[in-house]
Symmetry: C2
Subunit: 341 residues, 2 copies
DNA sequence: ATCCGGCATTGAAACATTTCATTTATTGCC
DNA sequence: GGCAATAAATGAAATGTTTCAATGCCGGAT
């Protein structure tokens, strides 16, 4: 390692003061053209690279925003990340994407890391239902925005999607197709998402004069494909077998689809299927999946913008906001029209 | 922002010197039990959080390793990231995952960022075929490991998978099933991956006394599902239509599958299909996809370990290594047995 | 000749930590 | 009681940058 080619060496070599070198880098317009050229060429020649840690030490905070997601393997969060990244880069900030993998402990670790790093802000989808991690993080003077969750106490920004409406859309669609025996494949009901989507589903049923009994409940432990396969097996064993299935996310739906297909049950012929999230693979399935599209990219982007608004120059006039985006039903092959009942 | 609750305030409040506080944090064993307890409780009470930038300034490098991948939307890289993360966390390091999205410019930007951050090391799958970005980055005293690529000049570590063998495995399997009219759906041939997998495919053909003509070549611009659909459309138009298709990755294969399925062509009945990578969604497709499994998680993990070896205490006796992992064929429904030809 | 204003440049302070050579206290030993 | 050895604690230096009040310089106005 060429140990120290710092601003000082550059200054000495170019025959100017360190202050001038700093100015060349940070406010080039305040330096005479000639000096600027000389300094720049020296920087180039010496291969000087600014040391961010020193700058940061002085500034008090870094130029990075952290994004802590629940599951990097879920394309939904990848889209969120891309949205956040886009917004951040436009503002000259970096994004550090981390994965709590739904573990409150990992989440706590990462939040600690972020605090030590004095990141500019944090975007997160909390894994810790008790809110303890979040509460303890709030002692830090680091702004944060909740993604895909609303803050109970309304004491911070959040961007989420209206899950009740999403559930309503899905089930309304299935009812419109004539189905009367439905099932809801859910993840853990302690997740607000799963509860809200069911709530929406029930709302749609009520509107048609149907009760809770028309919606069989299948609950699995995780929101992934393997759990979807389990759910599929359970659906196959039901009698009467539901003719329409609404899944709390696309991964579950893909698992269900696979199970049904493997058992020779035709989709959408015998069972209509609707997922949630509209991840890329939903459209890519052999039977393209009808799904409730979440504006994931936009959510990430909006969250980052909200954060930067809070961080930015005129942070004084920032009011915490609760932004709720609307989902949208995307109808594809897995729920084709059938005679109305 | 509580402006400065630093080590100094803690020291004053606990009635010790700053050095002692630092010792409590970094070498607790060198401090008397009583003092340690007092300092720790003061830290707790004041909510002191170490400022990483200052520590880093002194240390000269950060405690983060950077991972720069080609495509965050590809589950393959997500697995690589998880592997790297695992290894890094075991060593108490953080991982910053960044996405060059195959853009040499973005790649250059990120490498610049990493240099300024003095990250502990960089794991990357280069997007820049000219090698210019890499060459200029090598001026930095930051160790790096190439992932899924080998370094032409052998002047650094790399972890890759034997793609020739992978292609061989796939086509050998198809030939064994009796197929004689094959197609290779490839991404851009400037990618070593695509070239090598084809090379392996040809090797398998040669061994059976078949020539290049038995392998129709379908090349598309990107390695994603949409391109796979295009490829599928082109396959459908061929005559004679290939009875077996080997795709350069699973995303392409899923696209092809969807195209074929949409056209009413049965898989594996009329066309046998083999993908590459064995991403989770390959197994989750309605017709589970036969695929060449890449040890993605292990690759990420190994790369991180290699990096830490180079960074670590006894970095002196570190020799650059070129590790080549072996792929493995996973046979599933998309290529079922059929009569031997 | 003197003063003024504006511009370019300077140099030292400040940021929060770690490290290490010293200092101070404690214990055991003769 | 004095001395050496050990343990614990100290405090100042060093890290690389940014910022800002102060300085120097030059041309033009008085």
């Amino acid at each position: 390692m060429a140990p120290g080619v710092g601003i000082k060496e550059v200054a000495r070599e170019a025959g100017v003061s360190v202050g001038t070198v700093s100015n060349v880098i940070n406010r080039p317009e305040s330096v005479s053209e000639e000096t600027r050229a000389r300094v720049l060429s020296t920087i180039e020649r010496l291969g000087y690279v600014r040391q961010e840690s020193a700058r940061q030490l002085r500034a008090g905070h870094s130029r990075i925003i952290a994004l802590l997601v629940l599951d990097m393997a879920n394309p939904f969060f990848v889209d969120v990340a891309r949205g956040a990244e886009r917004a951040a880069r436009e503002a000259g900030l970096g994004v550090m994407v981390c994965n709590s993998a739904q573990s409150p402990e990992e989440e706590a670790d990462y939040l600690g890391l972020f605090a030590e790093q004095r990141v500019r802000g944090v975007l997160m989808t909390p894994a810790d239902m008790t809110g303890r991690n979040l509460a303890s993080f709030r002692r830090q003077p680091i702004p944060f925005v909740l993604v895909d969750r609303v803050l109970p106490s309304a004491e911070g920004c959040s961007v989420s999607v209206d899950d009740v409406t999403g559930g309503d859309l899905a089930v309304r669609h299935l009812l419109g197709l004539g189905h009367r025996t439905l099932a809801y494949v859910s993840g853990p009901m302690r997740l607000a998402q799963c509860r809200d989507r069911r709530e929406g589903a029930l709302r749609a049923l009520r509107e048609r004069g149907l009760g809770e009994s028309a919606l069989r409940h299948v609950e699995v432990g995780r929101l992934d494909v393997a759990s979807g396969r389990d759910a599929g097996a359970r659906l196959l064993g039901m009698s009467p077998r539901p003719t329409a299935v609404f899944c709390a996310n696309d991964l579950l739906a893909l698992g269900v689809l696979q199970s049904l297909y493997g058992a020779g049950v035709s989709v959408p012929g015998e069972v209509a299927l609707v997922g949630y999230d509209d991840i890329e693979f939903a459209a890519a399935a052999a039977v393209p999946l009808t799904s409730v599209r979440q504006p994931a990219f936009r959510m990430g982007r909006t969250a980052a913008e909200l954060l930067m608004e809070e961080t930015g120059e005129r942070a004084g006039d920032h009011r915490h906001q609760r932004i709720v985006l609307q989902p949208e039903l995307v109808v594809r092959g897995s729920s084709l029209v059938r005679s109305r009942g």
